[in-house]
């Protein structure tokens, strides 16, 4: 194998890093190069990478992953309150705590498979959500959400002698601001690390075993192979990714609310992963970018903008067109999302990645003029499994 091909993990990661770090430049023509949105891309990218490790690799459809995101956020905010405003310990803690919860929940949920697994994760997510709203209010601050206050002890900061002027202290990474472009680069570095880890997992014997579990778990078991430890470990890793994403979310905006844990929030990450292409390496990331980007664009369009767009039409027609399209943008952007998602599941189960590879194949066929798949075609196919 060529040392410099994409098959080499380091080359792939370097290329990925180059793409991610230059995102502010190449996203500029799309108007998506402001740090807030870029940070969202990166953070949900991490979440999706983690989710893809579970669903994409093993086919276990979890509807409760947002619970880990929420747990991560709560942990991070508590770290800010109790210890220090530096985000490093907070993010590490949120990853670990989510991992512990994932171990517990995964141990129970993974005793069943298929639809039962989905329902078990749903039940746990709903439990976490209801508890966060009701009894756990001392920890989660209920409906208001967990926030920083001026009276927070922040023991480590106090020992280090960090003086807070009036107003709330802001989160930082050793003095580096987590907002603006420095914040994006912090998230981007974490995303690249997460990508490297998920690449390693997918291309390792471990990843192959996960793929084998996905294609036929029964056969794996008949050959005397214990699938449980593999499933549990990948569940925990994926929960830790979610916790990491939750920690970062809290780091850029130190506020954690229970609605982050609702099962529909888990549904959103499922949407992103499927839309991009579950089981592929970058598919989920594409899904995140597409959904978050269009969410941003579509929600900003309101009726007056639409009237501007369709002003070339006669008045009555314009009003009709505006009222129809108005359903799909602005507040109703989820409607378009749901429709697109349904279409994807019906016609394009492999998501964007399937579409891309189909196009790629066509081009190759067109160029070579014959229909026999070339070696690189089978290569790219193998990678998507």
């Amino acid at each position: 194998m060529n040392k410099l091909s994409l098959r080499n993990n380091y080359v792939a990661t370097l290329l990925f890093a180059a793409v991610v770090l230059s995102a502010p430049i190449w996203l500029a023509p799309l108007g998506a190069n402001y740090p807030d949105l870029l940070q969202k891309f990166a953070i949900f990218g991490i979440f999706a990478l983690g989710y893809n490790l579970l669903f994409g690799a093993t086919g276990y459809l979890s509807f409760g992953h947002a619970a880990f995101l929420g747990i991560g956020s709560y942990t991070a905010v508590w770290c800010f309150k109790l210890f220090t405003m530096n985000i490093l310990p907070a993010v590490i803690m949120s990853t670990l705590v989510s991992g512990m919860f994932a171990l517990l929940i995964g141990y129970i949920c993974l005793r069943r498979s298929g639809i039962y697994f989905s329902i078990l994760t749903l039940a746990f997510a709903q439990m976490a959500y209801s508890l966060a709203y009701s009894v756990l209010t001392p920890i989660t601050n209920g409906e208001t959400g967990l926030q920083l206050t001026q009276q927070d002890p922040r023991y480590i900061d106090a020992i280090a002698g960090v003086v807070v002027q009036d107003g709330l202290p802001s989160t930082n990474l050793f003095g580096l601001s987590v907002n603006g472009y420095s914040g994006f680069y912090i998230c981007a570095v974490v995303l690249i690390l997460a990508f490297f880890v998920s690449l390693k997992i997918f291309r390792s014997p471990y990843g192959l075993k996960l793929a084998a579990i996905k294609s036929n778990q029964m056969r794996m078991q008949y050959t005397g192979f214990n699938t449980k430890p593999y499933l549990l470990s990948v569940f925990v890793i994926s929960g830790m990714f979610a916790g990491l994403a939750g920690g970062l979310l809290a780091a850029i905006d130190p506020l954690a609310g229970a609605e982050r844990m609702q099962w529909t929030a888990s549904g959103e990450i499922v949407l992103m992963t499927i839309l991009g292409g579950a089981g592929t390496l970058i598919g989920p990331l594409l899904g995140v970018v597409v959904i978050k980007y269009f969410e941003n664009i579509f929600s900003a369009i309101n009726e007056s903008v639409l009237h501007g767009i369709f002003s070339f039409l006669p008045d009555t027609l314009e009003n009709i067109v505006v009222s129809v399209t108005g359903l799909f943008v602005g507040e109703g952007w989820h409607l378009s999302l749901g429709l697109v998602f349904m279409l994807v599941v019906v016609f394009l189960p492999g998501g964007i990645m399937q579409a891309l590879s189909a196009i790629n194949q066509r081009i190759k066929q067109y160029k070579s003029g014959d229909s026999t798949p070339t070696e690189s075609d089978t290569d790219s196919k193998g990678e998507q499994q």
Binding site: A123, L335, G338, M342
Partner: protein, 338 residues
């Protein structure tokens, strides 16, 4: 004692709603083998059928308010009142029960359309695909409702006669303090009637017998020359009607809003799982059981010992059942276990 009786009533009442929704869900599970995440949306659509009926009946016109003589005042008066006077007013008052007549055909149409248009493409695909596409459909339905009815709950009252509370304590010679809202009692009776009707349809008619045979072994029934696909479409429609009626009658108890479907969805799956996938009796029994458990868990005495138990009891029971007795209370072994 009164507290306990009230909680039993509460539980039966909640259980009635759970049982109806779960009955609809398990019908589609058992017949078509499709995991329908848009089931909650059907419940919500039923509720909005009632809301729409009420809206249509109360289409109003501005008329001069004769009772105010100092200045020109206007009030909204429904056409029905103008045309038919007191009869019209009574019709408006009874809009929720009347909406049953509207809900049945609408939900039947929606159910059949859903099965023919979308679900039937997914019989052969994986359960996760079925979950995903119906989840997408649920989002679409929810957003459409939100676009037309707004995001706020829409209160629609029960008829005046039954909007108060029934003094059932006095009626049975128990304590005077034992009162219970009329409408909730009616809902309980309604749920019992519908459940009875569905069971009668499946148990006593030839049509139902064929459907049950199809649930047990689809291929064999097909080989006997029966178009089982068409019957299953009808059953899907029936399930939609049952769920929709549960929603329509629930309107006076809980003002519907666009995300009530998602709220009830998880619950209905939990009930079905506890009852046993594909078991109709199980779904009904589990519905009432979970309803009762939930109302007992929300008693202050219980909450004092186990805080927060009322919020999670249903899910806890589901988790325990799935781990200890995976086929549920009355389910067959190995259903949907891939």
């Amino acid at each position: 004692m009164d507290d306990i009786l009230i909680q039993i009533l509460n539980g039966l009442d909640k259980g009635g709603a759970y049982a109806l929704i779960a009955l609809g869900l398990t019908l589609t599970f058992g017949t078509l083998g499709v995991v329908n995440f848009a089931h909650g949306a059907l419940f919500m659509l039923g509720a909005f059928c009632a809301v729409t009926t009420n809206k249509i009946l109360t289409i109003s016109v501005k008329v001069r308010d004769e009772s105010i003589t100092f200045f020109e005042a206007y009030k909204e008066q429904p056409y029905l009142e103008i045309w038919w006077g007191d009869t019209g007013a009574a019709i408006i008052d009874y809009s929720v029960p009347i909406s049953i007549l509207v809900t049945i055909p609408i939900m039947l149409a929606i159910g059949v359309a859903m099965e023919r248009g979308l679900i039937q493409r997914f019989y052969k695909r994986e359960h996760s695909d079925q979950i995903l596409v119906t989840f997408g459909l649920a989002i679409v339905i929810q957003e459409l409702i939100k676009a037309y009815f707004g995001a706020n709950p829409i209160p629609t009252g029960a008829p005046d006669v039954v909007s108060g509370s029934a003094a059932i304590g006095a009626f049975f010679g128990l304590s005077e303090n034992l009162v219970y809202p009329w409408w909730r009692l009616i809902y309980l009776a309604f749920a019992a009637v519908i459940i009875g009707a569905v069971f009668a349809f499946l148990r006593l008619t030839t049509y139902g017998m064929v459907v049950r045979a199809g649930m047990a072994d689809r291929d064999t029934v097909g080989l006997l020359g029966i178009n089982i696909g068409r019957r299953f479409t009808t059953v899907f429609g029936l399930a939609a009607v049952v769920t929709g009626l549960a929603g329509a009658m629930y309107v006076p108890i809980l003002p519907p809003d666009y995300h009530m479907g998602m709220d009830f969805l998880v619950l209905s799956f939990v009930v079905v799982v506890v009852g046993g996938m594909g078991s109709l009796e199980g779904a009904v029994a589990a519905g009432f059981l979970l309803g009762l458990l939930q109302s007992f868990a929300s008693m202050n005495e219980v909450k004092a010992i186990l805080p927060g138990i009322d919020q999670i009891i249903i899910y806890l029971v589901a988790v325990v059942i799935l781990l200890v007795r995976p086929r549920g209370l009355m389910g067959r072994e190995g259903v949907m276990d891939d």
